[in-house]
Structure formats: C-alpha cells, structure tokens
C-alpha cells in the first residue's frame, strides 16, 4: 500500500495464530493497512474473520497462550508497539490507543463504581489526584450523557446502553489518539444502537480521534467511516474509500456482502446469502481462501494465492481477477 505522510497507525504484514490442541487457528494472515490521523476505518467481516484478533493485536493484548503474533509490525506514530517493553505498553494502552468492547454487560467490573472505573484510567495516565480524577470522571459521564450524580453507582444499576456509554467514557477519558470500537452496538437494542453510534461519532469528531470501527453492518459503515476494509478468513480482501468500495466493488466477496443485503426497492421473498460457510481457520483452503464460495472462480484460484492489487488510487483488492 502506498506511502503517505506518517499515518497514525500502520499495520504491516501482521500474522496472528492461536496455537491450540486441535491445530493452529490462522486468525489473521498477513494483513497490512494504514490509518491516518482523524480518519475512521470500518473493519467489516463475518464472525471469525479475524477482526477482533486484529484489534487485540493493535492493543498488544492477544491472549498468550494460546495466541501468538507470528510476524509483522504494528507502527503507531512510527514506533512498533509489538516491541514495546512493559512500561512503554503501560503508557501506550489507555493513553495512545484505547478500545470499546462489544458487550457492555461484561466490560465493567461489577464490584467497582463506574466513577472509580473512569477515574482509575485518569489517575494512571494523567497523574491526577484522587479528588481531581473524580471531578474529571464526573465530566466524562456528563459528556457521554449520564448525569454525574450517578458517579458512585455500580454497573448493575445501569442499563445496557448506559453501560456502553460508561465504557466509551473510560475509553475516551485520556483523549487517546486511536480508538478501537469492537462492534460497540451489537449487544444493544436497535433503538439504542443509533444513539450510541452518534455519540461515538460526535466525540471522535470533537477530539479528532482516529477510529477503527469493527462491525458486520455495512449500513453503520456508511454512516461513520471514511474508509472500509473487508476481512475474510484473516485477510483484508478489499480496502478503500467508502465511495470506491461501495461504488466500484472489486472483490467477489464484497459483492456477495452487498448482494446479501435486503433491498427496499426490490421486493424479494428470500434473502440472497453467499453460498457456503466461512472456512475452518485451522484448515484454510489452498490458494485464495474464498475460492470454494466464489462465483467468479477461475482454475488458478485453487493453487495461487492472490496478492494485493491497487485497482484505482487508494482502492486495494486481493483477487486474481485483477492480476
């Protein structure tokens, strides 16, 4: 991918495997992408495509064992965070990069007040006194739309949507440069989803935060993201600006994803899914991992692994159709 002026995040040839008794789970296979300051990248794919593993890699929090970062670099502001020592990582997590987890029901410690859970991160990074950290925590609560008098309440006293607001407050408390939101609305009610999404969008705009939004909802991507990367079987199969990917879709898998969306304009009795299932990540097909499901399969797809091709400026596709 091309060299622009110092992107905030630059993932280079990242490969992450989980080594289990049942074999090696190839969760992330040789992915590369950049994220510029202030931009939002949508990372889209089915369950098991390696989105969350990629995110944990960027936090350098892949659970080890069984996870292992096999190769690659993750450059943040030009420094490889995979080579960070303990105290460098301590300053990186929470301050430079932070993350919102998928399920707000389990992301908050049930025995600690929400105020303390926000104040904790402020004391760690911004060296605030106890009293000051609570004042700032109260401000953060107000910022995400929770009355600050609830600062001493425990997580079980909040609804799911409010808990996710608290998690967002924690993640953004130290004003990180990079926010990773891992399906932040999947576990929420549909009515709450829109609220939480617009909250995230407003906050990152306000603070100029870069964001990776992990989702499997292509509609959400159009609302928030500048760029989109489509993941399949641990690889990015297509990446580019929203317009490029949505208007000039390159990869057959991406086309399949769009094709499977129900349309209001065309009345259909059945949805139009992509045939077949995602391959077993312990036993990926040879050649292109998508070939068993691909409608445009060519004989050489079975044997040759495609490389990333730039089909138009800033639009990358990993498919033999374009080689």
């Amino acid at each position: 991918m091309n060299d622009r002026n110092s992107p905030l995040l630059s993932v280079r040839n990242l490969t992450i495997h989980y080594i289990t008794d049942d074999g090696i789970v190839r969760a992330v296979n040789d992915i590369s992408f950049d994220l510029e300051k202030g931009k939002t990248l949508g990372l889209v794919g089915e369950t098991g495509a390696g989105k969350t593993t990629t995110a944990l890699g960027i936090m350098n929090l892949v659970p080890d064992p069984p996870g292992k970062i096999i190769s690659g670099q993750i450059l943040v502001n030009g420094k490889d965070i995979l080579k960070f020592k303990k105290n460098e990582l301590k300053k990186y997590r929470g301050k430079v990069a932070s993350m919102v987890l998928q399920d707000p029901m389990t992301a908050l410690n049930p025995l600690i007040t929400v105020g303390e859970q926000i104040a904790e991160v402020l004391r760690l990074h911004d060296k605030l006194s106890r009293a000051d950290s609570y004042i700032k925590a109260a401000q953060m609560l107000e910022l995400v739309g929770i009355p600050s008098d609830r600062i001493n309440d425990y997580p079980h006293e909040f609804s799911g949507g409010m808990k996710q607001r608290v998690v967002i407050a924690i993640a953004l408390a130290c004003n990180p440069q990079l926010l990773i939101a891992d399906e932040p609305t999947t576990a929420l009610d549909v009515t709450i989803q829109a609220q939480v999404l617009s909250l995230i969008r407003d906050l990152i705009k306000k603070y100029g935060t870069s964001m990776i939004l992990i989702t499997h909802d292509l509609g959400v991507v159009t609302e928030i993201c500048d760029e989109v990367a489509i993941m399949y079987a641990g690889q990015i199969v297509e990446k580019g600006d929203l317009e490029a990917v949505y208007e000039h879709t390159g990869h057959p898998y991406t086309r399949g994803l769009f094709g499977s969306l129900p349309s209001l304009a065309v009345k259909a009795h059945r949805l139009n899914p992509i045939e077949g299932l995602m391959p077993d990540p312990t036993d990926l097909p040879k050649g292109c991992a998508f070939h068993p499901r691909c409608p445009d399969k060519m004989p050489e797809c079975v044997s040759r692994t495609p490389v990333v091709i730039e089909t138009e400026p800033g639009h990358f596709v990993r498919c033999l159709l374009y080689e």
Partner: protein
C-alpha cells in the same frame, strides 16, 4: 441490614429445634442406661431405679423432650450426670479451646491457600501450578485423623521436635492446625484457582488491561475481589468442617476442647452433655453461615442492594457526595 440479620436469626430457630429433636431422639433410643452407668455394675437394681426416677428417665419421650427444651430456652442445658455440674458451664470452659483451634486452622488455610490459588491461576499449567494442584489433591485425599497420626509419628516420635498432645503454647498448635486445615487448604486453593481462572477471562479484566493497568493491579484490584465471592462460601463451609473435625482431632492430640468432651460424653452415655454440645456446635455453624452471608453484602454491591432498606442508604450516600 439489621432487618435481614433479625430475619436470619429467626430462620435459624427451626433448624436448631430440629437439631435438638434429632439428637434427643437418637440418644433416647440408644442402648445403655445412664443410671446404670453412673452407679456401676455392682449397684443394686433398686438404687438404679431410684436414680432413673430422680433423673426423670422414666417419663415418656415427649415429656422428657419438652422439659429439656424448656430448660434450653432458659439457657439451662441440664446437669452433667457424672460430675453433677451444669452442662452449660462445662461446655463454655472448653468451647474457647475448640474455637481457637478452628480459627487458627482457618486463618492458616486462608493465608496459604488464597495466594497459592491465585498464583496457580495466573501461571496456569506452570510448574508451580502443577505442584500446588498435586499437593491440593493429596490434602483432599488424606483423612484428617490419619494425617494427624502421621504427623505425630514423624515430628513427635521420630524427630521428637513437637509435642504430641495437649495445648499449652504456640508450639502445641502446629500439628493440630496442620491436621485440621489440610483439607481446607486443599479445597480453598482449588476453589480460588478455578474461580480466578474464570474471572481473568472476563471482559472487565481485558478492559483493565486496555486502560494500561499493571498486571499486579489487574489481578489484585480487578480480579481478586470478584474471584473471592465463591471462595468465601467455601471458607465458611470449611470453618464448620473444622469445628466438626475438632471432634476427631482433639481426640488424636488429646486436646481438652469441646470435641474431646463430646466424644468422652458419648462413650459415657452422658446424655445432657452430648445434647448440649451438639446444640452449641449447631449454633456456631448457623452463626458462621450468617456471617458469611453478611460478608457477601460487604463485598458485592449487587447483594447489598437486596438488603437495603428502601432509599435510606441511598440518601446517606447522597449526603456524603454533597459533602465531597
């Protein structure tokens, strides 16, 4: 909260009544005549009969039970047939020893088992984990009294470094405490480990790491408190086991506590002592259970909520906030 404690104490009453009825019934139908035992084999039948009448042993089961219960409600556990002293006083003299021993054993278990469980969980499948799990398995598998006998054989008979019987100083506590707590150490270690393993896979632990928290703070501040909730249950159970286990261990180590007193009383058909002793043990178990339940509320705000008298604590908390 007070309301809850009151309710729990009320709920303990039927349990304790059941205990008295059960023990009373069992002893009533047990072979052996206390009057005969007191007077000895050589006593004349008329003397024995007179004593039976005096002790009220000739009355019906129901009236004997009711008169016993009447005494219990007034705090009178009856009279020791053999010494002629009030059972209550005799029990109170010995209860302290048993409780001290049980408390020492539980404290010892906690001090050893909780750190061992935490380390085992954090370093799962490491050498230290394997070693502590093997020791835990041994601790669970060995019968208490057998371990106690082995300890006496090795430390008292063979090495001659520790006293084999009695309870006259710190040194005397070592072997009984190890004997009583072996099982508790094993159980609490395993419980801490499994509970900790479950907790450290939770999202909020990942969240604590995302914040940039140190590994030590992640374990101590975020994981341990959550992991302790089930462990506390087990500690409570182990305390009651330790009190019950005193019956055997005090026998082995010849410690003059409630346990040994009870065993001796059973051998002598000393009914009132057995009934009183078991009742006191049952009361201790009920109190420990109540204490454990209150401890939950102290640790877990979700449980505390259930105890809360509506809005009262909340307004206190509000007031404290405004002062802040």
């Amino acid at each position: 909260m007070l309301n809850y404690i009151f309710k729990r104490i009320l709920a303990a009453i039927p349990v304790l009544l059941g205990v008295t009825l059960l023990v009373f019934t069992m002893l009533y139908f047990t072979e052996g005549d206390p009057a005969r035992l007191i007077l000895g084999d050589t006593a004349a039948e008329e003397e024995v009969e007179a004593l039976r009448e005096e002790l009220g042993l000739n009355e019906s089961f129901i009236s004997q039970y009711i008169s016993y219960l009447g005494g219990v409600l007034k705090g009178d556990l009856g009279t020791d047939y053999i010494t002629g002293r009030p059972v209550r006083d005799e029990i109170m003299e010995r209860l302290g020893t048993t409780l001290k021993l049980a408390a020492a054993s539980i404290i010892f278990s906690i001090v050893i088992a909780i750190p061992a469980g935490i380390i085992s969980a954090v370093r799962q499948y490491s050498l230290i984990d394997i070693i502590s799990m093997v020791i835990a398995l041994l601790g669970n598998s060995m019968p208490n009294f057998w371990l106690a006998l082995m300890l006496i054989l090795f430390f008292s008979v063979y090495l001659g470094v520790l006293p084999a019987s009695g309870l006259y100083g710190l040194k005397y506590y070592i072997m009984p405490v190890i004997g009583i707590s072996a099982g508790a150490v094993a159980t609490i270690t395993r419980m801490t480990r499994s509970s900790m393993l479950e907790v450290i896979r939770q999202d909020y632990i990942r969240m604590a790491r995302i914040k940039g928290q140190t590994e030590f703070a992640v374990i101590v501040k975020h994981a341990l408190k959550n992991a302790l909730i089930p462990v506390i249950t087990v500690i409570g159970i182990q305390f009651t086991v330790a009190v019950g286990g005193a019956v055997v261990n005090e026998q082995v180590f010849a410690i003059p506590g409630l346990g040994k007193f009870l065993v001796d009383a059973i051998k002598a058909r000393n009914y009132r002592v057995v009934q009183g002793g078991v009742l006191v043990l049952a009361i201790i178990c009920s109190l420990v259970n109540l204490f454990i339940d209150l401890l939950y509320a102290f640790i877990d705000p979700r449980i505390k909520n259930q105890f809360r008298e509506s809005g009262k604590l909340r307004s206190i908390r509000k007031a404290r906030e405004e002062g802040l």
